[in-house]
């Protein structure tokens, strides 16, 4: 639950006033604000933050795997506002481990394109509505998603015995 202190934050207050179910939680850690957003509403929240709250830049998108906990993945959006002298905001969406998927934000920031491809490639999270969701780092025929915690560091297929 969001503490009363954090509710006074203008961004959180605006989001809560707009849609009380959009935010699941908010955490202030090491001076940085992270908002847990309902994955169904990420597109709506991002558009609002960009258009109304001057978070015009998307710095990056990544994910964190909390295997074997459920919901397993956290998709993290790093937002930035140049207008407000480098104010930053982190949005996080908890996504279930079984056929993970979330809406693509490429319609809001075109720069999200490669970041979402990277998360798709390395975590296996699908982005619905992405224009070209293909592998970006690994070869096209690669099996598995390397940054998942159950993917071994030294690979699946090859051992020195094969050589």
């Amino acid at each position: 639950m969001i503490s009363d202190e954090l509710r006074e934050n203008p961004v959180i207050a605006a989001l809560e006033a707009r849609d009380s179910a959009a935010l699941a939680d908010a955490v202030l850690h090491a001076g940085q604000l992270a908002l847990f957003v309902d994955p169904e509403k990420i597109l709506d929240v991002c558009r609002f933050l960009k258009d109304e709250k001057q978070y015009t830049r998307l710095s990056g998108i990544t994910a964190v795997d909390w295997f074997p906990m459920e919901p397993r993945f956290e998709v993290v959006y790093l937002l930035h506002s140049i207008e407000r002298r480098g104010e930053r905001l982190r949005l996080k969406c908890r996504v279930a481990g079984d056929k993970p998927g979330i809406d693509s934000v490429t319609s809001i920031w075109r720069g999200a394109n490669w970041y979402e491809r990277e998360v798709f490639d390395l975590f296996g999270i699908t982005f619905r509505g992405h224009p070209d969701l293909t592998r970006i780092m690994m070869p096209d025929q690669w099996e598995g998603h390397p940054l998942r915690k159950d993917f071994p560091v030294y690979g699946l297929k090859y051992t020195y015995k094969d050589e």
């Binding site: 090491a30 710095s59 990056g60 795997d65 930053r88 390395l122 560091v153």
Partner: protein, 412 residues
């Protein structure tokens, strides 16, 4: 079953020839992954109509080494050596960004001595000069001005000697670590840096003499590679690319870290937003970086070169010979590494190429749970298609050079 009938060669020719007259044929050209001007292993699939680029699709991942995965297997201190290898032309900037992120998680920002902060600033600015030297040399070489390369690498050699003096390594320095510096600065370091920096402003004049009035250079760069500012921001470009489009956005000014707010420097901007403007921005940054280095040299505070955090930094060798605790801490740090409280932090700094950001997640253990590297080259390279589509293929080289990407930084 009868074989499917193949059309005769003559019939194919006849079928194609009217087509050729009505519609010009397009050609698919693979630029790279071994093309010299892609500075690494980047493949750009170009669709050409004569000399004009119709569409471009960068294909990356050839240099993907799984650094982020590797980070999850190393202790917090060992990860420093991996950050060197991300952007190998600005390794100290990467070291610093990671160190600051971990210090944020450790809640140790106030414990960092001032001498460490200033030395970090000095080294990062030398790194910026070093990186811009490589960029200018190779960029000019791509466009056809060969001499600049030798001039720039002359200065780069001096800088690498300075880095070697500090850390024992020319390229993979790993000199900035969580909690301080790896080693005490060597004796006579200030003389070496001062000798370099005093001579450097003349060297920048030399570069400018070679290029600023060179008609070929001007024709190849002015008006080339223009993208509207909104598109650049939308695609995630950072650093000199944005400053060349008129926004004085510099993380050193906007979100000061490591005492940058105590230094006096300007953020150069231009409005032309072309390859030439990006060149001018970096030339100005040479001078501003030199200015910061001079200030750091003149005002370098004395004091310890690492924080007094026994669980994070290695103890003094002399203390280890006399104090039991020091020996225990040394043993613990070396064998199992330090523990970082659970939490997450995002730290960004202004690297020579733009915004480097480290998003570090800890679960309380001695290894990071996740390290995400938001690298400037990755964001900048995304805007390549909008920059070159509809333009001449020769301008592709100039536009790519002006982005100053490092493929290790893109692929990680």
């Amino acid at each position: 079953m009868s074989e499917p009938e193949l059309p005769s060669p003559a019939a194919t020719l006849e079928a194609e020839s009217p087509n050729q007259q009505t519609e010009r044929r397009r050609m698919i050209l693979n630029m790279g992954p071994q093309h010299p001007s892609t500075h690494g292993v980047l493949r750009v699939v170009l669709e050409l109509d004569g000399e004009t680029v119709v569409s471009a699709r960068p294909d990356i991942g050839f240099l993907h080494t799984g650094i982020e995965k590797e980070c999850e297997e190393k202790t917090w201190q060992q990860v420093v050596t991996l950050t060197d290898r991300v952007d190998y032309l600005a390794n100290l900037s990467n070291n610093l960004c990671y160190a600051l992120a971990v210090e944020k998680l450790l809640n140790a920002e106030d414990a960092i001595p001032q001498a460490v902060k200033w030395m970090r600033v000095l080294l990062c600015e030398l790194t910026r000069i070093n990186s811009h030297c490589v960029w200018l040399g190779t960029h000019a070489l791509d466009i056809g001005a060969m001499t600049v390369f030798f001039y720039c690498f002359r200065e780069r050699e001096d800088l690498l000697r300075i880095f070697e003096m500090f850390s024992g390594q020319r390229l993979m320095t790993s000199y900035i670590r969580p909690g301080g510096l790896a080693l005490e600065p060597p004796r006579g370091w200030d003389k070496a840096v001062r000798r370099f920096i005093d001579a450097f402003s003349d060297k920048v004049d030399e570069y400018e003499d070679l290029l600023d009035k060179n008609p070929i250079w001007l024709r190849r760069t002015q008006g080339v590679g223009y993208v509207p500012l909104e598109e650049l921001l939308d695609w995630g470009a950072t650093g000199p690319m944005i400053r060349a489009a008129g926004i004085p956005w510099d993380i050193r000014k906007d979100e000061p870290y490591s005492d940058y707010d105590k230094f006096d420097f300007a953020v150069p901007t231009r409005t032309e937003n072309d390859v030439w403007a990006r060149y001018r921005i970096r030339m100005e940054e040479f001078r501003q970086s030199a200015k910061i280095v001079k200030q750091a040299l003149d005002g370098m505070p004395g004091g310890p070169w690492q924080a007094d955090l026994p669980r994070v930094t290695l103890p003094d060798r002399e203390k280890m010979k006399t104090q039991m605790e020091a020996l225990i801490y040394h043993f613990k740090i070396v064998t199992e590494g330090m523990r970082v409280p659970a939490g997450e932090a995002y730290q960004c700094i202004e690297s020579p190429r733009g915004e480097i950001g480290y998003y570090v997640v800890s679960n309380g253990g001695n290894k990071p749970h996740r390290v995400f590297m938001r690298t400037p080259s990755f964001g900048n390279l995304q805007s390549l298609p909008v920059m070159i589509e509809g333009k001449l293929i020769a301008d592709t080289i100039a536009a790519m050079g002006s982005m100053d990407f490092v493929l290790g930084d893109v692929d990680r």
